[in-house]
Amino acid sequence: MLGTINPIKELINLCNKNDIISVIDAAQSVPHMKIDVKDLNCDFLAFSGHKMLAPTGIGVLYGKAQHLNELKPFLLGGGMISKVTRTETLWNEIPWKFEAGTPNISGAIGLKTAIQYLEEIGMNKILEHEIELAEYCIEKLQEIPEVTIYHPDSSRIGVVSFNIKTIHPHDATQVMDKEGVAVRGGHHCAMPLMQNLGINGTVRASFSLYNTKEDIDILIVSVKKVLEVFS
C-alpha cells in the first residue's frame, strides 16, 4: 500500500526462535524483487501468477517438506492417493497429495513462462527500474502543492500512494481512468492503516517493468485534470 519493504527476515527469525510457524504473503514482492525461501527460512510462502504477468487462476504455495508431509489433503480427486482399499486410503507423496484432479495445465505453463521472462530480465534490474520510477513520480507529485504523498521516503518498492486535496480517491481515480491512467483508489484492503492515517483511502500508482517515465508524465497531467474537474 505504501511501498514499504518489511523486515521479513527479522520477523521470520523471531518466529523461528519462538516456535511460531511463519506464513508469508509474497504476492506483492515476488513480482518485483528477488526472493529466496531458503535464505528467508520461512515455513510457508505464497504468491499469485496474475500479479506477475502470468494468467489468472494460478499461484504458488511453498512449504517446508516436513510441514507439507504432516498436512492432510484439502481437496480430494484424481492423482492424490497412492493406494485405496475397502478399509483404508494412503495419500500420495508431496506435492501430488495436494494436486487433486486435472491440474490447471495452461496456467502452469503460463506461470513458468512468466517466471522465466522475469528472470531473464533479472529481478534486481526490475526492482531498480521500479524504484527509479517511484522516485521520479514522487519528485513530480511534490511539485503539485495540492498533493499529499504518504510515506515518500525510506526503503520502498515501486508503489506511490497519494491524495489530491480532500478529493475522494474514487472520484480522483475515475477521472484519471478517463485520461488513460490506471491507478487504484480506496483503502487497498488495509482499513486499519487508513484509520491510522486518518483518511478514507488513497490513490495508488504501482509501477512495473513495462512502465516508463513518459507514463508518469501522463499521470501528472491526469492529476492536474482531477484538480481542474474538482476546482
Binding site: 475522494h168 474514487h170 472520484d171 475515475q174 477521472v175 483503502h187 483511502g201 474538482f230
Partner: protein, 128 residues
C-alpha cells in the same frame, strides 16, 4: 468528462437541501464501509408522505450529488412511491452509467431514505 457532468459537480459543490431538519420524524444514517461514504437523511412525515427532506453527509461526488438530487424528487412522495424508486431512476438523474462499484455510492441516499421509512414504520407500529 462525461462521468463528472456539470450537473453532478454542481450538486456536489452546492448540495440542495443540505443540513439538519428540526422536528424530523426520520433521521437515518447509512454508510458504505467500502469507501467511507456516509449519508444521513432527515425527513418530516405527514400521513405516510414525505413533507420535507434534507440530508447531511460526506464522501465521493457521486454519493453526495445523488443524495442531493434525491431530496429534490422525494419531497411530496408517498412511502409507496419512495419504495418503488429503482436504481435506473437514480442513474437517469445522474445521467451517467455507473459500474457495479460506483452504483453503490449512487444508491446510498435512496437506501438511507428507504431504510429510514422502514424504521419509522416499525417504531410507529410498536408504539414507541
Amino acid at each position: 468528462m462525461d462521468m463528472y457532468r456539470q450537473q453532478i459537480m454542481d450538486h456536489f459543490k452546492s448540495p440542495r437541501n443540505f443540513g439538519k431538519l428540526p422536528d424530523a420524524n426520520i433521521n437515518f444514517t447509512d454508510h458504505n464501509p467500502f469507501c467511507g461514504d456516509e449519508i444521513t437523511i432527515h425527513a418530516k412525515i405527514k400521513e405516510e408522505q414525505i413533507e420535507e427532506v434534507k440530508f447531511e453527509g460526506k464522501g465521493c461526488a457521486i454519493s453526495q450529488a445523488s443524495a442531493s438530487m434525491l431530496t429534490e424528487i422525494a419531497k411530496g412522495k408517498t412511502f409507496e412511491e419512495v419504495r418503488s424508486i429503482k436504481s435506473e431512476q437514480i442513474k437517469e438523474l445522474l445521467g451517467v452509467d455507473l459500474g457495479p462499484v460506483r452504483i453503490k455510492c449512487a444508491l446510498l441516499g435512496l437506501k438511507a431514505l428507504q431504510k429510514g421509512i422502514i424504521e419509522f414504520l416499525l417504531r410507529k407500529n410498536s408504539g414507541v
